[in-house]
Amino acid sequence: MAVYDNQKVLNALGSHSKVIDEAYRSNTMTIEDSLDNATAIRSLRAVRLVWQMEGEDGYHLRHELLNLLDFAAQDYRRAVANETIAAQWLALKQSFEDLRQARRIGAFDDVRRVERDISESVALLMENLQYMILSFNNHLYNRFTHITDLSLRIQENERVVERARKLAELLTSFSIGEFGEEAGNDRFLRKLLNKQLPSAMKTYVADLSHSLYQLRDLLLDLRESHRLTSLVSSFEAYYQANPGFVPSVEDVELSRCPDAVLLAPAMTIWAYPDIHDPLSDEVLAPIAAGARDDQKEIVISENRTELVPIDMDPAGHTQADERDPVAELIESVVDMILAGEFKNNVIRGSEILQTFDLDIELLDWLSLLSAAVDGLPGQERKQIKMHFVGDVDTIYPDNLWVRDLHLQWGS
């Protein structure tokens, strides 16, 4: 039957946190098998958080526990990484010194032990460097957005840039070449010191330089954002304190103002195509041919309900001229009189209106008819006699109350 062990694991971690932390911070990741640690080891073994290699004294922290500790200590690790790496480098140098001494006195067991230590130290150093560079890249990826305030974001960016700068300095101070000579006959160590470590260091230095450059770039961006925010805030505060404020134009010294003020407005650019240029024919001909189609396209609207159908005449655009029937009739009457068709007759305006039943008042009709006759060119005007028929006003004898208009051909 499955057993739910979480509570036991958490209890063991809580009860022996000090021992675990000491093992973690010593970078050995091992709990010494001593009487003082006996209870802790028993308890941690029961929940499988430590393990022991055959022939070794200490108990190693399990990988899963290390991951948890790495996660919990990531800020601390970042902060002290430079010191850690510097210390690891010094320890490595010391190990090489031990190796030289062991070889000199012929202590072969110790030579093998130190060689194993060196391999582990180099691997740990590379792991830590990789971790550091990854953490810089993470900052570049998230751009410090987990910090809301821009000033605090800038401060953190400055701190990270400083850490990266120090690490870059530290890496350039490492002299990898001298270690290669100490590799001796151990093939693995030779390969590690002559190939893997130099190659990895070269990559780390390049990656770190790139990260440092981008972190500085990001810092510039953040400072610019801060400047703009300050600019906008300044105006906002000023408008609040000075309602109705408008920057003055009159005292602008144009010869000393920045480019932004000298922004030039739009200059109209317009030209007609040269229809006499044969070279333009190729371009203009399809445009001209498509002009009619273009007109059809214009009718297409996004709003289907507003579509207005237009019938295009294949012969070209024509527009029906709806003539005024009154004007048409007046023109016909005048033409007929001028043509002499009513030579011996008097044409009465009222009778014409009655005959054609047009929608116009008699007086308006007579007025338009007389105006048309009066508007004829001199010679033609003389060919038509025009006489108003009506009643003289009793009070103003010069006024005539018109009832009809008589027209008669008479050259």
Binding site: T229, V232, S234, M267
Partner: protein, 220 residues
């Protein structure tokens, strides 16, 4: 596209008063980023008393007068300045409104993409932000009569402002239509103008952190 065509397009865009940046027209911005090309453009513009300069952040190209010896040119510059001077208050109000509503620590800069739908949601139902929107809709280029009884007045107001800013060249629409608006280099030009006005008018420099909470509730 041939170099000659790009030269023509660039000159035309600048003469039409356009501010060129990666987002307004990537091809022309790339073309102008080459020193030789820029010299060709300048040689073309010089007889017309025009020149091309970069904004302070180096991210946009603006058409400027080559010299301002001519009285008409000076008058036009003053007119443009006057126009901008009157637009800054509503523009600042809008920038702050967007910063507060979207919890942005920095104002809009070239390349930012904003969505009118998002902003509407962020303003809607937040009385003091809606009040600020109403104030902005009563000012300068954003002036618009609003019917607050309409359930859509916030959305209409936000869209109206985005459209106005697009007309003014501050935004382009990436897809031609729709609700996304991409900020152009005109913002860089505006901040240059504000920089100048700040120093000219002696507007005190404000720490963006100080009094921020207070202003968030009483922007105007």
């Amino acid at each position: 596209m041939s170099s000659e065509v790009l030269l023509g397009r660039t000159v035309k865009a600048l003469l039409q008063g356009g501010i060129i940046c990666d987002y307004a027209d990537r091809e022309l911005a790339d073309y102008l980023s080459e020193e030789d090309n820029r010299e060709r453009v300048r040689a073309f513009l010089q007889p017309l008393n025009r020149d091309v300069r970069a904004t302070t952040d180096g991210r946009a190209w603006i058409p400027v007068y080559a010299s301002i010896n001519d009285a008409t040119d000076r008058s036009e510059v003053r007119q443009s300045f006057k126009l901008v001077a009157n637009q800054i208050e509503p523009l600042v109000g809008w920038l702050r409104l967007v910063m507060i509503a979207q919890q942005r620590p920095e104002p809009i800069v070239m390349g930012d993409t904003l969505y009118d739908g998002d902003l509407t949601k962020q303003l809607d139902q937040v009385p003091h932000l809606m009040q600020q929107l109403e104030v902005i809709l009563g000012k300068g280029p954003f002036r618009k009569s609003i019917n607050k009884d309409s359930p859509r007045w916030v959305r209409d107001g936000v869209t109206h402002i985005f459209e106005k800013l697009t007309e003014m060249g501050f935004f382009v629409k990436p897809g031609g239509t729709g609700a996304a608006y991409r900020a152009t280099g005109k913002w860089s030009w505006l901040y240059d103008m504000m920089d100048y006005i700040q120093s000219k008018e002696g507007i005190p420099v404000e720490d963006p952190g100080s009094g921020d909470e207070h202003r968030q509730t009483s922007i105007f």
